[in-house]
């Protein structure tokens, strides 16, 4: 064993001497030049071209055996490792030629090192098996819409998908896909989960799977719509990305929820074959939406990088779509079947022809799937589903209803940019005049155009407004989070109304009479909502608010509201709130607010706010929307 080790060391030494001492100065020069090659730097996942610090934290990924060696040292170590004979005590798959196919491909394409001799012949069994499984004629980036049940997923999620050139819809489930995520211990404490995610104390890695697992998890279980961004990359560039995946699959990264997340690393992966970045390197935060925007703008080999966007509806979207296609009679028969505990011995049903029966059963399949996900404790789902299956088996094969494309599902890259700065003027009781300045980190509010976003929702993080006069400047409000979903559509046939919820926490002035009465708060509310016309929404909610600071207290409130689009560019929101006559809220038991937003370009809008909260506060602001 020791002899063998000595032999390997001697051989390595010999190779090094051959490669770097005996080689000409010109060759050394070509190595130095290549070590600065953008693609080489990207293959090492260095944070910048000028530093040798990598996002990858696994030492084994670096053949120079440390994570902070220069790109030149890593290049020399890589070439040396390529020339090493196979270690008989190790599997061939451990050889550098098998572990780093993308490095080999890139180096060979740029440097002529044939005079170093022939590379050893190594049979890379594992790599070949894996590579043969990846259908890689094209690459898509898949955006899964925001998932409100998980704080890390509210902004959406990204994954990569590989398809065959002739890929058709029927086989897309078997496409290969790549996910990126933090490695989270089972049953992690939710608070710890958020904190550790933000502070970067999780490891993260890529994982490869068939697309059907994601399709099932996101679309069927979590009921999230997806958009597939198909890219125009050439087969050679797709091949380079795929072979690089093999290199990084065993590697770990640090995970930072804010910036070094799935969006960031997928952008970097695609940038491997692009001249210009998809997202700015200096981005302080990176959202999945920013990557889709970057893809839509990117130019690749003098043409758009983005070929097309496909919408992949969730199970709930399919249900609502099917429901919209049913006739009044079909809806009514389905309702009777549900009410009769999925019995089909119903005169009206039996009188229908086979096509109508099939349409009803297939719609009820969607219904029962959604009920199962939304109401985990619902009794009898399994038994009722068996009845549906049994009934469907009696009828001829073939689908009788299919998803009908809708214009509503606009892709996320069309949404307004997520960050905001604002300037404005404000008055209190029409006597005092103030200037206001504001900043919002992410993402959208319910006065934002709903294009590419969840309609009637609010998802804001770090939203601050400063108010100032000639003598002082104070924080008018600082929302750490302000999240609401005012329209969660009811499941068809359940005779329920849509529901609404909201959560908000931060710091604000207690009421409008002073700008010196700031207090910390956290509040939450639940309620019901109803669509009024095609663009309007009415809602009624009940909530509770806790105050912290010089005084600690709790109050409860109810509110009624109405949100609507008056024109394509003009939105309005009205809210009337009745707060209990207890605690700190005594000063404003009744309050009302009216807000208008007029969008005069994709990046700009102007807003007017009138708020009566003990005294009247009026503000006019102009807002600019941007993103990294």
């Amino acid at each position: 064993m020791r002899k063998l080790l000595l032999k390997v060391i001697r051989l390595t030494f010999f190779c090094l001497i051959c490669i770097f001492s005996c080689s000409s100065v010109a060759n050394e020069q070509s190595l130095i030049e290549f070590s600065k090659n953008k693609q080489w730097i990207k293959l090492l996942h260095y944070k910048t071209v000028s530093t040798s610090q990598s996002y990858i934290t696994t030492p084994d990924f670096f053949l120079s055996k440390t994570v902070d060696n220069s790109s030149l040292e890593e290049l020399k170590a890589t070439i040396t490792a390529f020339y090493l004979p196979v270690n008989k005590n190790e599997s061939n798959d451990e050889h550098a030629l098998c572990r780093f196919p993308a490095r080999l491909n890139l180096i060979q394409s740029q440097i002529d090192f044939s005079f170093y001799g022939e590379l050893p012949e190594v049979e890379c069994t594992q790599y070949k098996i894996w590579r043969n499984q990846i259908k890689s004629d094209s690459i898509s980036l898949v955006f899964a819409s925001g998932y409100m049940s998980n704080p890390a997923s509210m902004h959406g999620h990204l994954l990569l998908k590989f398809s065959e050139a002739s890929g058709n819809k029927s086989t897309e489930l078997l496409d290969n896909s790549l996910n990126y995520g933090a490695i989270v211990p089972n049953k992690e404490n939710p608070l710890l989960y958020v904190l550790r995610g933000i502070l970067g104390s999780y490891n993260a890695s890529f994982s490869d799977q068939h697309f059907y697992k994601h399709m099932h998890n996101y679309g069927n279980v979590e009921l999230r719509d997806m958009w597939e961004y198909k890219l125009t990359l050439t087969p050679d560039d797709v091949a380079l990305i795929v072979s690089h995946l093999w290199e990084i699959l065993p590697a770990n990264f640090d995970y930072y929820f804010i910036d070094e997340n799935c969006a960031y690393h997928f952008a970097k992966l695609i940038e491997l074959v692009l001249d210009d970045p998809i997202i700015n390197d200096g981005s302080l935060w990176v959202l999945p939406n920013a990557v889709t925007t970057g893809l839509a703008k990117a130019i690749y080999k003098n043409k758009p990088l983005l070929e097309k966007v496909n919408f992949i509806p969730s199970r709930e979207t399919v249900l609502l779509n099917y429901y919209g296609q049913l006739t009044a009679e079909q809806k009514q028969v389905a309702d009777t079947i549900i009410a009769d505990d999925f019995s089909f011995a119903i005169e009206k049903y039996e009188a229908l022809d086979n096509d109508d029966k099939k349409i009803i059963i297939e719609s009820l399949f969607q219904y029962i799937n959604v009920v199962k996900q939304k109401d985990k404790n619902h009794d009898g789902i399994k038994a009722n589903k068996r009845k549906l299956i049994t009934e469907r088996l009696k009828l001829p094969i073939g689908k009788a209803i299919r998803y009908k494309e809708e214009k509503l599902n606009l892709a996320p890259h069309l949404a307004r940019r997520p960050s905001k700065v604002s300037l404005g003027i404000a008055t209190v009781e029409e006597s005092k005049l103030y200037t206001t300045t504001g900043f919002r980190m992410t993402y959208f509010d319910n006065l934002t155009s709903g294009v590419g976003l969840s309609k009637f929702s609010n998802l804001e993080m770090i939203d601050v407004e400063i108010i100032a006069d000639k003598t002082q400047a104070k924080i008018l409000k600082l929302d750490l989070i302000d999240i609401s979903s005012l329209y969660l559509p009811a499941i068809p046939w359940t005779n329920s109304t849509a529901s609404a919820w909201s959560v908000r926490a931060g710091y604000e002035q207690l009421n409008n009479t002073c700008i010196d009465c700031g207090i910390y708060f956290a509040e939450g509310s639940l309620g019901k909502s109803i669509r009024i016309g095609s663009e309007g929404l009415g809602f009624a909610m009940i909530g509770s608010k806790a105050f912290f600071g010089e005084e600690n207290d709790v109050t409860v409130y109810t509110k009624l509201g109405f949100l609507t689009s008056i024109t394509k560019n003009l939105k309005a929101k009205f809210e009337l709130q009745k707060t209990s006559d207890i605690a700190l809220s005594r000063s404003y038991t009744n309050s009302l607010s009216l807000a208008f937003s007029y969008e005069f370009s994709h990046h700009w809008d102007v807003r007017l706010l009138l708020e009566k909260k003990e005294t009247t506060f009026t503000a006019l602001t102009i807002n600019y929307y941007w993103g990294f």
Binding site: L173, N186, D208, Q209, N220, K382, G398
Partner: protein, 163 residues
Amino acid sequence: MKMNKAIISTLMVGALTIATMNSAAAEKVTMKKLNPWTDCGIGAMVFTSNGAAAAISNVIWDLGTTAVISNLSSQNACGSEQAKTAMFIQATLPVLEQEVATGEGEYVTAMLELRGCEASSHTEIINAVRKDIAQKPTDNAEALYNILENRVAASFANSCASA
């Protein structure tokens, strides 16, 4: 010299013995019908979010609940068509069983493609499977897999990958 011969002979005998044992084992494996649920641990692997699964795979941040298992890059042990089909059925049963009842759909197509069945045989196979399920209803993934496997073995062996 004698010593070297002895070593070589010992090695050869050893190698032959191991090779024989391996081929015997291989024969034994091929003789035994694969049960992916017990032989590959599919039931425990798919959608399990236990610590072991998290350790060997990657409980992704985005879901927090999804154990990413059976990665393509570590799929050799149970990489046969049957095992892949079983994994697919286990992972997608709620939608798949509806499509089987309907007799068509992308999940049905994907299942039969994974099983290595020619596209031209899909309709006939799913027709036959529907009839079997109508007579003997299934309520779990393993039961559906067994019906498919039995039907393939009995009537569609020439149209699908061999077991």
